[in-house]
Structures are given as structure tokens and as C-alpha cells.
Chain length 349, copies 2
């Protein structure tokens, strides 16, 4: 397969991350169910019994482990490899829901799973190898090359335009406004997370990068981007159906991240055309699988494409920010426990 | 892309074949509709007005051109490349039906199309290159190598078992019996078609192969295999829903053809693991797309997975035998013109 050691590590970490994140939904769900059964008060109605439920805490820990694994994966493997693999957590979640929560997996859902897996395999096989990075200043040089500055500039201009001009005018009617802001900021988040992760990795390897201003600057960028991204993801999810938001968000977020990664890390230098096309086809396959898996849920509940149910996608595409996941968790729980239809969003647990 | 000249030729021929075959369904359908409108008697009720309709004849010619292109494609490119690409005719057909017959293409159908195309691209990129063949005796040597003889022997034993033991007992209750016979014979058909095609190609290039007994033997094998295959495909389609038969048939036929081709032509020798896995993933993607495109038709007509409608798959997988297509044409027409529900099978037109 010709996979480098670092790519393999990143791949395994991304895979583990998907398994943990996918499993965490199910475990937390089980915890919530059990807590509701014991106390008789549901979380959505102000009950806090789940805080006494070890299963719920286990779910939280599982999720945090997953997030950390995802973060570390970026330090080893290119974003082109790690980001699309986030879609696998949807599969883990669907399969576990089938076996542990006895939710029926629709025929189309199985097809979606198969597509996601075969697409992921193609992405993994054709993932580019990154040239080893020896200091945070090298990343800084990459981030300040003209091509990436152009990308950065365009993103900032677009985001400012979207926030100041479009958001007040059509933010609540056009789904692309808020998701666009999230996705654009998301691509910058991943790039800065990758920079920070690499710096921390080097630090752990003995080459202390904390003495450089660049490391702290990247940390600041991560925080800023994640906060903006989270803020607008919340707005998008409050305004539109998760089923509408999430596929659009997954497509835009992953595409922009791939573009940013290719520009900044020159991931495709030295790759032949065949590999690049294969990677794109693999990405398309994962995408189709994700969309299919989401629609399958709707088919299961009667009418076609009702678009009322929350799919998992955005949670996967924002795999590294537990803040986002926090926001989505509530939808998630609605999704996994159809009788719990009253869990309010934004409830603090 | 590193595609050889011959692979490229085979690929273009396979693509053209899919376009012609896909288009022929639509053209013939239009011809039938027009003939019915003029004469007032439908083909299914014994009308022969379509024989006076130029559009119907154009459709027939288009189909024959497509079949010939498919046959020639096998002479240039490996079966691993040509056979799965047959699935593209379903896409051509679906898209043309959308524009020319104003049939609505379901969202899932679009997703299926995208899957088939991206899977096909992956198959094309990773198709193995065949070592050039200089005489029919070389193919004879490949066909008589122990490994292929073992495959041949197993196929014959299985087919005999299925015909003599299983067909009388559960042929009419288990869909795998008749489709199994078709698929097993189909893999031999493709291999002998490939041998015959290569021999004819060499003959046209000036190296006359008709003087060798092997060429005539392959011709005999083609005829035998195709007749058996056609016969049992008819039985399968008479006994079971096309929607049940065709995906199973497509999977078994294509898989067995790939296995036979790999054994006989050693297609995977010199290929690295990554390419082989990519090819398989591409095949899976095409497969998922085909299944999805078939199910989309059902969703379009109300209930989920009704399984009453004839999808195109078997016609594609038997792309080279117009006999099979003839048998399927009637289903095809039911499919494309929902109000023509009474076109009887086996009607001679």
C-alpha cells in the first residue's frame, strides 16, 4: 500500500477517534435512558439525574478520548486523510444503535455504510505523504506563502461579507449563509489545529516549540476560529433542520479543508493524476454514503425525505471541537431515542 | 494516469457501447409510443405497427452498434475494465429518460448515478495492463493452464449440479439457481468472447487466426455458452421479478467474470495491493450505485422497495449478447412507459 509510518498512525488515530465518538453517542444515550428510568424526569424537562449515572459519564469520557485522538491524528497525517474519515463515526453510531439500542438499520443505510467504507479505503490508499516538519517555523513559512495568504484573505473577506452583509439580510432564509461561515472558518480551524498539533508533537518529541511566538499565535488562531465556527453552527442549527444543515456543512467543510490543506501543505505535490482523481472519487463515495445514511433514517419513518431528523454529519465534520458536538448532542439524542422528542436544545448537560 | 493505448481504446469502446445501449432503450421506447399513437394498437396486444416506425429501427441499429462496440472492447481491454463499465448504460438510460421521456429522476437516483460514475473512474484508473497477445494459441495456452482448468472444471460441475439437481427441485422457489447458472456460464462467455475478439482483432491486423482450429473452437464455445446463458436468463426472468433477479445477476456475473479474468489473464500480476484494493472498492461503488438507482425507481412510485419493477442491470451485464437484451427489452419497455403494462414477454419484435 506504500503507506508511511506517520500516515498509518494518523489513520489509526482517526479510525479510533471515529469509533470512540460514534460509540459515545450510544453510551450517553443509554445513560440518559437509564437515568430517566430511575428518576422519572427526563433531561429535557430539567432533570439532572443523568449526572449521577456512570454510563453517561463514561460516554462523556469516550467522546473526549475521541476528540483528543482526532486532534492528535492531524499532527501525524494530512487533513486530506483525517477529515473525510470523520464520516466513519456515523457508521459506528448507526451499527451500534442497531445492536445496542435495537434501532432498525434500513437497507439503504447498509448501502450507505458500504459506500462510506469503500470510499474511505480509497482515500486511505491514495493519501499523500507529508514531508516531515522539524519546527513550528516551517509551518509558519507554509502559512505565510503567497498562495495560502491568498486563500486566507479570500476566506476572511467572504466571512466578513457573509457576517456583515448577508447574515442580517438572508441568514434566516438561506441555509448557505450560516453554514458557509462555519465551513470557511472550519477550514482555518483545521489548518491551525494541524499546526498546533504538530508543534505539540514536536514538543513531546523533545524539540520544545513553546518558546516560539508562532506556537502561541496558532493557539490563539485555533481558539478564535473554533469560537466563531461554533457560534455560527449554533445559529445554523437553531434556524434550520439538522438534516438540511449537516450534509451541506459536511460537503463544504470537508471540501474547503481539502483545498486549504492542498494549498498550505502542498499535499498533492508529487502525487500522480491518478492518485488525485482516486482521492476525489473516494471523497465523493464517502459523501454519497453519508447522504444516503442520512436519508435512510427518513425512509425508515415513513415518508420520503421528510428532512426533520438530525443526522450525525456535522458532528463528524467538526470532530475536533467538542463544543460543536455539545451543541449537537441534543439533536443526536432526539435522533437515537425517538420517544424523547422533548429534549430541548442548548440545555446544559 | 498511466493508461495504455489499448486500455484507452477498450475504455472508449466500452463507454460508447454504454451510451449506445442506454440510448437504444429510449429511442425504441419513443418509437413504440409513436407507433401506438399512430395505429392505436400496442405491441403488447399483437400490434406490429412499430415495424413501420423508423425510430424503432433506429433504436435497433443503435443497440446493435452498442453490442458490437462492447464485443470489440473486450478485444482491447481486460474484462476487469469492460464488464463493470456496463453499469454506465443504466445511467445513460436514466438521464435520457429524464430529458427525453420526461421521467422524473429521484434524488436517490442522482446519488446512484454519481456513485456509478465515481466507481467507474476508480476502476478505469486502476485497470491492469494486459501483456500483448500475438496469436490465438497464446490464449489457448492461458485457457489450458491448470489454474484456469480448475476454474473451468468447478464451473462445469456447479452448472451441471444446478441444472440437473437443483433446478428441478428449487429452481422455481430459489432465485439463486437460475441466476447462478447464468452467471457461471456468463463468466465463460466473456472469457471466450475475449478470446474470439482478440483472434479477430489479430486477423484484422493481418495475422490471420482463422487457420487455427483454436479460433473455431472458441467460436463454438461462445455460441454454446451464450445459448445456455440466454436460456436460463429467460427462465429466471419468467419465474422471478426482474428487480430481484437483476442486482443478484449483476453482482454474480461481474464478480465471476473478474475472478475468471484474473485467473486466465493474470490481470493482477504486477499490480500492487493498493491498485487491486482500489479496483475492488471501485467495483463496490458501482455496485452500490446500481442498486441505489434500481431502488430509486421503487421509491418514486410510492412504497419503498416494492421490487416489482424491472431495472436495467442484467441487460448491462449481458451487454454483449443481443439475445438476452431481446428478452429483457419487454421488461425494459414496461419500465420506461408505465402505462404500457401489458407488453407480454417473449413477443417477437
Amino acid at each position: 500500500m506504500g503507506m508511511s509510518q506517520d500516515n498509518l498512525r494518523g489513520f489509526i488515530l482517526a479510525l479510533l477517534s471515529s469509533v470512540f465518538i460514534g460509540a459515545s453517542f450510544i453510551i450517553k444515550k443509554k445513560g440518559l435512558r437509564r437515568a430517566a428510568a430511575v428518576s422519572g424526569v427526563r433531561a429535557g424537562y430539567g432533570g439532572y439525574a443523568y449526572l449521577l449515572e456512570p454510563l453517561w459519564w463514561l460516554g462523556m469520557v469516550t467522546m473526549i478520548v475521541g476528540e483528543v485522538a482526532n486532534f492528535v491524528a492531524y499532527a501525524f497525517a494530512p487533513a486530506i486523510l483525517v477529515t473525510p474519515l470523520g464520516a466513519l463515526s456515523i457508521i459506528v453510531s448507526a451499527i451500534l444503535a442497531h445492536f445496542m439500542l435495537k434501532e432498525k438499520l434500513h437497507q439503504l443505510g447498509v448501502l450507505g455504510c458500504i459506500m462510506c467504507i469503500s470510499g474511505s479505503v480509497i482515500i486511505v490508499i491514495h493519501a499523500p505523504q507529508e514531508s516531515p516538519i522539524t519546527s513550528v517555523q516551517e509551518i509558519w513559512a507554509m502559512a505565510t506563502q503567497p498562495a495560502f495568504l491568498l486563500y486566507l484573505g479570500s476566506v476572511i473577506v467572504l466571512v466578513v461579507l457573509l457576517i456583515l452583509y448577508f447574515a442580517p439580510r438572508c441568514g434566516h432564509t438561506n441555509v448557505l449563509v450560516f453554514t458557509g461561515i462555519c465551513s470557511l472558518m472550519g477550514s482555518l480551524s483545521v489548518m491551525s489545529v494541524k499546526a498546533l498539533g504538530t508543534a505539540l508533537k514536536l514538543t513531546f518529541e523533545g524539540k520544545n516549540q513553546l518558546v516560539y511566538l508562532e506556537t502561541w499565535f496558532f493557539m490563539f488562531i485555533v481558539a478564535t476560529c473554533v469560537i466563531i465556527q461554533m457560534n455560527y453552527l449554533n445559529k445554523a442549527l437553531d434556524t434550520f433542520n439538522t438534516a438540511v444543515v449537516s450534509p451541506i456543512y459536511y460537503v463544504m467543510f470537508t471540501s474547503l479543508t481539502i483545498i486549504a490543506s492542498v494549498i498550505m501543505f502542498k499535499d498533492w505535490d508529487g502525487q500522480n493524476t491518478g492518485s488525485i482523481i482516486s482521492e476525489l472519487c473516494g471523497f465523493i463515495a464517502v459523501l454519497c454514503g453519508t447522504i444516503l445514511l442520512n436519508s435512510a433514517k427518513d425512509f425508515d419513518r415513513g415518508s420520503s425525505f421528510r428532512g426533520e431528523h438530525a443526522p450525525l454529519s456535522p458532528t463528524l465534520s467538526t470532530g475536533l471541537f467538542s463544543g460543536n458536538r455539545e451543541t449537537l448532542k441534543h439533536d443526536e439524542e432526539n435522533e437515537l431515542l425517538p420517544d424523547d422528542i422533548c429534549l430541548r436544545k442548548q440545555e446544559p448537560y
